[in-house]
Symmetry: C2
């Protein structure tokens, strides 16, 4: 996971990304003599997404980033002072805030099960309480996507699965941290460039239908693409008709543009229609044309159920691009982790 | 919408939050003589979330922020150069990139319908193509949440609905931009502090169960809270037993701590159990105790279906706190907007 560790996607300041009641409670704890009270909180979850057998822990690195940089800016404190309900003692406390809790977590990428503590926080109750929102937000989101990705990758039975979902993700972080979680869950890469740049996750892609449409003919479009990227040429063959147009044009271009340059064709992508049927036909046609090594990639609203069915029905698909249903965990879009007070130390530390 | 306009949640640089194929295509367009080709792209969607009658447009301000700040840093270009497949002419083009397309959008907050263009982009095809990922990501996400929020607010029949979902949102942006979208969709506020600070959306909250548990008794916990926040005292009454413990303790504290300070109690919150039954009982008890103005707030995995049922069954609830099912649009978590090439201008501008 080293590649994933190197970057913080942290915005300048997420300290105030917390439920307002964490702040009213913090002020109240301080005013009611709990300043030095040491409490334990546990994060756990009660039910698995999609009635699965286990979930996958993800988001630990973002929790660490958050806790290491947790500080209240002057601007934050001005905003809180403006609310008119907090004591000056509390404003002073926040100005000098230094996070000092101990935090235990299950490591990134591990299977996790209902009921077990996956994060335990021990420290001053004001602090341990305050971090509830971001701990839940981070782990709930990333574990959800890692779990879904893992389900999809297992359905693909060893075939590579690419994460294709940025455009349907729930916000920029949903796209970036979701791609990260999908990689932890087993995906081989992502279509999203910034995840390549920031996390070192392989970022790949070929063309959209608009590329094909912009040229006068599909053949021209393929030819131009092949000349540009002969070393890794994957052609999207379903803009007009996979078997009657896309595939014959692709083969012509593989023969006329790729082979003469000393390369082999990388693949074709099918993004619509009866992909099982089309992939079986395409496999035969490619084999007969002398391209048994040309891969067939399938995309279009896939998930673990559709992939499993396709493979059972004999689809000749070598890799899958999975978008909206993975990046949002569409079939089960909420990971219901909770964060509960589990104990308070007495003065003797018991 | 002025309050929502004032802030950009833009991270330092989202330029590279784009599908890698947008970049391979851009390079290809440049190399194939499409540098000055003017194209039109339309964003539209095909199906409404939850089989509803309309959706609500949201995210326009974030699109504007993105487009106004769209620039490739040296660091971005270094990363792309390192991919080893792009021309130096293209690197040069990106270094001098200045967004120059015309963009039309349906205004923020308007109803939108399947099949109609909700955004139209006209400009150099390289640019108009490049922004696909962020346009879709932004509008798909925020319109999804605004639409869900609107459905929930309509089910509440005029009663205020608060957005309570940060902890189950899909990433920090999911929480923040989702709260923004929920406000556009009709919510009266959010539990999330940063949305108060950054967007000017009312941020409110009372206490968690952990507050009640930390004190020796529920009565002590309520009393301490009431002394701290007498001007806006809402008590969470379901930690132990709503009717036998929470409500009697709340009434005692309203009488002994709130009234003597010259205030009226703000409310109680019920977060578990048969809320319809409990709210009807609680209403009578509060009325009999002389607090007909004390509001009853309900929360706990609510959505438009549950709220409608509760009201049909006579629940005495004055406001709703809605979390995970709104912030993720749980019943229909993907807004499938697409962005398609709709035309190319010839040299005479037709």
């Amino acid at each position: 996971m080293n590649l994933l560790d190197k970057v913080s996607t942290a915005k300048t300041n997420l300290t105030m990304l917390t439920d307002f009641y964490e702040i009213t409670m913090a002020n109240g704890y301080l005013e009611n003599g709990f300043r030095d009270t040491i409490a334990y909180f546990d994060m756990f979850f009660r039910e698995l997404p999609d009635h699965g057998g286990f979930a996958i822990m993800a988001g630990v690195q973002q929790i660490i980033d958050y806790l290491e940089h947790l500080t209240f800016t002057k601007n934050d404190i001005e905003y809180l002072r403006g609310c008119g309900i907090f004591s000056e003692e509390f404003m002073e406390y926040l100005s000098n805030f230094k996070f000092s809790c101990d935090v235990w977590t299950v490591p990134e990428g591990m299977p996790i099960f209902p009921g077990e503590p996956i994060i335990t926080v021990r420290g001053p109750v004001i602090q341990a309480q305050f971090i509830e929102t971001m701990i839940l937000l981070t782990v709930n989101h990333q574990s959800l996507i890692a779990t879904k990705a893992n389900r999809i990758c297992r359905a693909a039975k060893g075939r590579p699965v690419m994460e294709f979902g940025s455009r349907r993700a729930q916000g920029p972080d949903g796209a970036m941290l979701g791609a990260r979680a999908a990689y932890i869950g087993g995906c081989c890469g992502t279509a999203c460039t910034i995840c390549g740049k920031e996390f070192g996750i392989p970022a790949l892609g070929t063309m959209a239908h608009s590329w094909v449409q912009l040229f006068d003919t599909e053949l021209d479009a393929f030819r131009a693409y092949a000349r540009e990227y002969p070393q890794n040429c994957t052609l999207l063959v379903d803009t007009y008709n996979v078997l009657k147009s896309g595939l014959p044009n692709a083969i012509k271009v593989f023969q006329e543009e790729i082979l003469p340059r000393g390369f082999r064709p990388a693949g074709i992508r099918i993004d619509s229609g009866d992909i099982t049927y089309l992939s079986r036909k395409a496999r035969k046609i490619l084999d007969n044309a002398g391209f048994p090594d040309c891969k067939i990639c399938a995309s279009n609203s896939l998930d673990e159920y559709i992939i499993r069915d396709m493979l059972v029905q004999g689809a000749c698909v070598d890799s899958f691009g999975v978008g909206e249903r993975m990046i949002t965990s569409s079939s089960s879009p909420v990971f219901g982790g909770v964060y509960k007070l589990s104990g308070v130390e007495d003065e003797e530390g018991h």
